[in-house]
Point group: C2
Chain length 410, copies 2
């Protein structure tokens, strides 16, 4: 009689047939004796359709009104799923985020959950219901509807699992779990059975788009075990995301990731004195530009060149800010390279094993792939290379670390 939270993404409930399929899974879990809270995203492309509708009126709609608009998507899903679950003779009741007391801050379109008042969920569970909650949404203390931004439904699920002290949280999606590399690039890529929060956090920010970082961070903070599973192959065990275990340390590299959505910006001949970098990145932060890797190369006395990567969709904003900053600081030109790829290896085993970096560089060298930028963390090594050679690099690194084999050691 464990309490379990299940979350189904938009592709899992894209139409009536899929909603019926999901209802069957939920009913089966319920019959197995679980108490269930089910979090649902908006049907298929509903959210994008609603955004298009607003953009037909104006390019810059009010964020408060966008939250009013977009929160309807999940409300449609929860009602339909409840109706479909009833067909199995299983009691179910749907709620919006505001109805179940998901309290957020006032930052419309990207609100953060402050608190969950679980009394209404607990009451409905006690009455024998499968409780279906609209993902991605909440309300402020003054009863304004808010949405949680990208990955918001995952966040709702993990936060509810934490608030209810659920045994685990299942994230149902349209893939079998998390892989050692993207199987479309590396055919021999293998599904990972268990992985740590930290590795997923590195993988997510590196382009493995299975789960959004914010929900993994919450899972990590409150130690909520998360299963990533395939809605359409429920017999598959999926990938379990947990805190780091002793066993994981034996695995040096968990996966290889490729990011092709970044661009590199360089600002030349920046005066080399304290506070300059801070001023540049302060301006970029104010313009809401996310920075990934940063490299600084001293090129001549009192001058330095500085490079960093940003997402391509924020590139024009970043360029504008950077050009202004360059002129204010008396720096030189600003250059931009969109033809880059970032390959990364991730693994908690790196902490206790040496030689990972050199093996990765050697693999790239074998293919005569030049490394443009390098960045490392405790459990990750990333290299920026020529944009056209990303997939080839991933395949060679995957082979180097024998990731296609189960429980590879070194």
């Amino acid at each position: 009689m464990a309490l379990v939270v299940q979350k189904f993404g938009g592709s899992s409930v894209a139409n009536a047939e899929r909603i019926r399929h999901v209802a069957g899974l939920v009913a089966k879990s319920r019959r197995a004796g679980h108490k269930l809270v089910v979090v649902v995203s908006a049907l298929g492309d509903t959210t994008d359709e609603l955004i298009d509708l607003a953009h037909k009126i104006t390019a810059h709609p009010s964020e408060r009104e966008m939250d009013m608009l977009l929160s309807t998507g999940e409300q449609v899903s929860v009602a339909l799923l409840a109706i479909a679950i009833h067909q199995h003779g299983v009691k179910a009741i749907s709620f919006t985020g505001p109805q179940v007391g998901i309290i957020t801050d006032r930052f419309h379109t990207k609100a953060r959950i402050l608190d969950i008042n679980t009394s209404r969920i607990r009451k409905a569970l006690a009455e024998g219901n499968v409780v279906i909650v609209a993902g991605f949404q909440g309300k402020t203390v003054s009863e304004e509807i808010t949405t949680l931004g990208r990955g918001g439904s995952d966040l709702t699920a993990v936060a509810i699992a934490k608030a209810l002290k659920a045994k685990y949280c299942e994230i149902y999606t349209d893939v079998d779990g998390i892989f050692t590399a993207d199987p479309r690039i590396v055919p021999e890529a293998r599904k990972i059975d268990q992985i740590s929060y930290d590795e997923i956090l590195e993988l997510a920010s590196l382009g493995a788009k299975v789960m959004h970082s914010r929900s993994v961070e919450v899972g990590k903070k409150y130690n909520v075990p998360i299963y990533v599973r395939n809605t359409f192959r429920p017999e598959n065990r999926g990938t379990l995301i947990t805190k780091e275990t002793k066993k994981m340390e034996d695995i040096m590299v968990s996966g290889v990731a490729l990011a092709e959505d970044e661009a590199k910006l360089t600002i030349f001949r920046v005066p080399d004195k304290p506070g300059v970098a801070a001023r540049i990145f302060e301006k970029l932060a104010k313009a809401n530009v996310n920075i990934d890797m940063i490299i600084q190369n001293k090129s001549q006395t009192n001058m330095t060149d500085m490079s960093f990567t940003v997402f391509k969709n924020e590139l024009s904003r970043a360029l504008g800010v950077l050009k202004q900053a360059a002129s204010e600081l008396g720096a030189g030109d600003v250059a931009c390279d969109q033809n880059i790829a970032k390959v990364s290896v991730v693994g908690v085993g790196m902490k206790s094993h040496s030689g990972i970096a050199s093996r990765m560089f050697a693999a790239l060298a074998r293919k005569k792939i030049n490394i443009d930028m390098i960045s490392t963390s405790e459990i990750k090594i990333s290299c920026v290379i020529d944009g056209k050679r990303g997939k080839e690099a991933v395949r060679e690194i995957h082979r180097e670390f024998e990731l296609g084999k189960k429980n590879q050691k070194s």
Copy 2:
């Protein structure tokens, strides 16, 4: 600086272009100095599309979940309209029915408004906003989302006008107002400038589908003046619905209506004793069958034939109930005629003028149209005739009372 409530129906906000048009009207009213509450229905066919979606899952979805589902339609509209009004530089804020404290009873899909807590609307008005409220929806005291059933958005608008003591309530639709007859049937039909609540109530139940009876009843009860106006011809004054005035009494007949959506049921040889009719109609009421006209004809000693009309979409339900009742009561056969039409004339002037009925019957006689059933009220006369001759009858009666001419006297 009058406070005015404006309501825009689904066809008025069917797409982005129309929403922009409505936003223009609202902005113009606001600039004219009015304080405005705007009630909006779901976009075009949204509600039907949501119902179809639910019916793809099951023919009999839970009513509570249908309310969750359908209430999203109006929420989409209010957000989009707020966004469109902002483009005119006019402050506007949208709310769901639950957010503005529209409290209803617990009867999902057909809830009744119990109370409106106007504090949130008043606060938003005081801050200079056009307040946009989702029609058709409310919540119970235990925070369950409800919908108000057919004509629910009109009801929201009139109820808010009453609660806020608005100067009047404007119902914007896709026709110029209320006509002496359906212009598609009677080309010379004339728009009525002013009409009483009671006449509209009779017209509405007789097939003139401009406004739903429930909202007119609320308007009548609390004396809220209602303007019916055309969204796409706002320069037109529309029809004003008010309490009866002295001037109205001079007009014997205000309009002619045709209903072709009814069927006639007859139960033969019912035992002619007290309580029998009560038992029959009690059973029909329990089965939620709406009865319109009732006629009883004593056919032989101790036996009576009884006929009545029901809506065609409730016919099969009514037939089932009636056949069972007939066998329980020891009555004879049950017959059903779907090929009927009901023509009606309405006018408060009837109270003080005689001869209306005979002129109506004479008009039908001229066309050799046989009258099957007759029913009258203080301000209405209805005749059931051959279903194929309804339109012809309406035209002849309209001509008889010279309704195409302004201020016809007798």
